[in-house]
């Protein structure tokens, strides 16, 4: 353990809730090293909701798993970077301290609620287990606490359903149970990885409403990982757009999505089938994302980008400030911004 990391969390100190600094994550595969995340930097404050937007393979889930410390290592490794939770680096603290923090201070909601729950135990016992392990509750108290939690995520008739098994609940109700488990120990940071992707639109609306409400009520930090622009718009204050393992654009959600400064964000936003495009071709982004085993020397988006110049093929554009609280990793941000307003 490095000496500078031994400092204890200082409630009076002005540490952000979560700060991820220069994080790299690589995977050793039989075909070489795949760079899943590189040079990731972001912070989340209490009461703030950050959206991480990206498509499959962009590194959004890997980032979440790195923060939670649930990456399988090997094949994954973190050669560089810091993940500071209230000033403590989760990558270097002892295993014991890690167990104390992760699961209680930070918790996670997974995409597929059915696989996140144990099929052979009643849901009440699974929620109650958290209280028994972390807080040393008795069986009876744990059960009462579980019922209380189920009530708070608005599962109807919680007291009579506490002994039901996961398969007896519908998809939306199961996701509520997973959320109840994540919130049980009053975390300061909740990471939701595609929490509504497996659900129907009507149920998605209910779950998003619940997440937002709990985040505001508890003044929690929330990281919402999704590929869906409309979900990000609905719930988050800040958004980080990821492409091929890097953040390509970062800023206040409304600004970034309404006036994108990166050609990828612009492409994503344009390819949504709005009403005005009826009968026309959708402005699709051509091509496919790059192979993470063989990332290009320059900008990874260059081969799909309408603004590409020679410069883009030679070096990776850094994530630079482009106005108040906004960053974009593109050599042509000015042009892109003008293009949108034009």
């Amino acid at each position: 353990m490095r000496t500078q990391q031994t400092q204890q969390p200082d409630p009076a100190g002005d540490h952000p809730l979560l700060r991820v600094r220069d994080l790299d994550v690589e995977f050793d595969t039989s075909k070489g090293i795949a760079t899943a995340v590189s040079g990731m930097n972001f912070t989340v404050q209490r009461g703030e909701a950050l959206g991480i937007l990206g498509e499959s393979g962009s590194g959004k889930s890997v980032t979440a798993r790195a923060v939670m410390g649930i990456l399988d290592m090997p094949p994954a490794k973190v050669p560089r970077g810091e993940i500071l939770l209230e000033g403590e680096d989760l990558l270097t603290i002892s295993a014991k301290r890690h167990r104390e923090l992760v699961g209680s201070r930070v918790s996670m909601v997974f995409q597929d609620a059915l696989t996140a729950l144990n099929p052979v135990h009643p849901v009440g016992r699974q929620i109650g287990e958290l209280y028994r392990v972390h807080r040393g509750y008795s069986r009876k108290d744990a059960k009462a606490a579980a019922i209380d939690m189920m009530d708070r995520v608005r599962i109807p008739a919680a007291a009579s359903r506490v002994n039901d098994y996961p398969h007896q609940f519908s998809g939306g109700m199961r996701q509520r149970i997973v959320i109840a488990m994540a919130l049980a120990l009053d975390p300061v940071l909740l990471i939701a990885d595609e929490p509504t992707t497996a659900l129907d639109v009507t149920v998605q609306a209910q779950i998003l409403e619940l997440l937002k409400e709990q985040q505001v009520e508890r003044n929690m930090g929330l990281i919402l990982i999704t590929h869906d622009i409309s979900v990000v718009k609905e719930v988050t204050d800040q958004v980080a757009v990821m492409y091929a393992g890097r953040i390509v654009e970062h800023g206040a959600t409304d600004e970034v999505l309404n006036h994108p400064g990166h050609p990828y964000t612009q492409g994503l936003r344009a390819s949504v089938a709005g009403e005005e495009l009826k009968g026309q071709r959708l402005p699709a982004i051509p091509g496919t994302p790059p192979d993470l085993l063989r990332l290009p020397d320059g900008c990874s988006f260059a081969n799909r980008c309408p603004f590409v110049t020679d410069e883009c093929l030679e070096q990776v554009p850094p994530l630079e400030s482009v106005g108040a609280g906004r960053q974009s990793a593109c050599f042509h941000t000015e042009e892109v911004l003008d293009h949108v307003t034009a």
């Binding site: 498509e55 499959s56 109807p156 519908s170 998809g171 939306g172 109700m173 129907d200 639109v201 009507t202 149920v203 998605q204 609306a205 209910q206 409403e209 590929h227 869906d228 622009i229 409309s230 979900v231 718009k233 609905e234 990828y264 492409g267 994503l268 390819s271 949504v272 089938a273 709005g274 009403e275 495009l277 009826k278 071709r281 959708l282 402005p283 699709a284 982004i285 051509p286 496919t288 994302p289």
Partner: protein, 345 residues
Amino acid sequence: MSLPEATIQNGTPGRAAAPLMEMQGIKQHYPVHRHLPIGPQKVVKALDGVDLDVRPGETMGVIGESGCGKSTLARVMSGLEKPTEGRVLFRGQDINELKGAEKREMRRNIQLIFQDPFSSLNPRMTVEELVGEPFAIHSEIEPRAGRRNKIRELLELVGLNPDHADRYPHNFSGGQQQRIGIARGIALNPKMLICDEPVSALDVSVRAQIVNLLDTLQKELGLSYLFIAHDLQIVRHISDRVATMYLGKVVELGRYDEVYDRTGHPYTQALLSAAPELRKNDGADRERIVLQGDPPSPIDPPSGCRFHTRCPLAQAMCVDQEPEPVEISGTHAARCHFADTVSAQ
């Protein structure tokens, strides 16, 4: 075929055109597995009286929550399953009564595209074998000699590099795999393509490419589509008409703009309002309706109107009386006692 193509093509385009496919009173009931042979046999009513038609060159969009019967509809329409009750007509003939050459011809004309492109392709076959497989059955369409060229043509048509014909599915990305699936679907010059969630498994940036491809193919090949998706914006984009399904019934059917802008059924209304993007595009006039609870079980659907348990407008009559389709305009109908009030909002 006895029904000449000419009659269909000579028909006035649009509303008056004879339907290419028609579903009449389709019911599809599946028995529920019983552990003991006692007590009443329960059935899942996946489809419970569906009437729907698709006209030549038209795209019929189908929306609804999971479990409402969308995929069963696709399976029955494509002839993969025989309905418990009702008839599926292709050019006026019941597809489940066709025999021999006529049945072959019907099968050739109705093709399916699946949701998960990877699991619908045999991993041990090359792209050339996959796309060429339909010709092994229907060799009359393309004799062996010209097959190689035809396959290259098809690959080019769906936007794949014909030089990659000897590669295997795992060498391709999700979007490219879906293109392979589409190439297989159009290989035999079908008239009807049934697309069951063709873009749901794809990334956002690739989705638009596939939608554009389907659009181009429809114009070039004169295809009709049944397009099932849960992305409501894409359905609006691609469809001429839209059907909303709820618990095995079509509850609303109309031109896309009628269904989206002058919605006649409270369920469609709730569905549309649940999509954040649709709500915001329309400004403040579309209020958010968050439906409580989940759809009831199709084993024992509610009495009267099936939606009354979740409907914000439900009255006493909705519990006892099942609403018949109420015509809102010549092309738009909804199964709701209050369709006129709802659509006037």
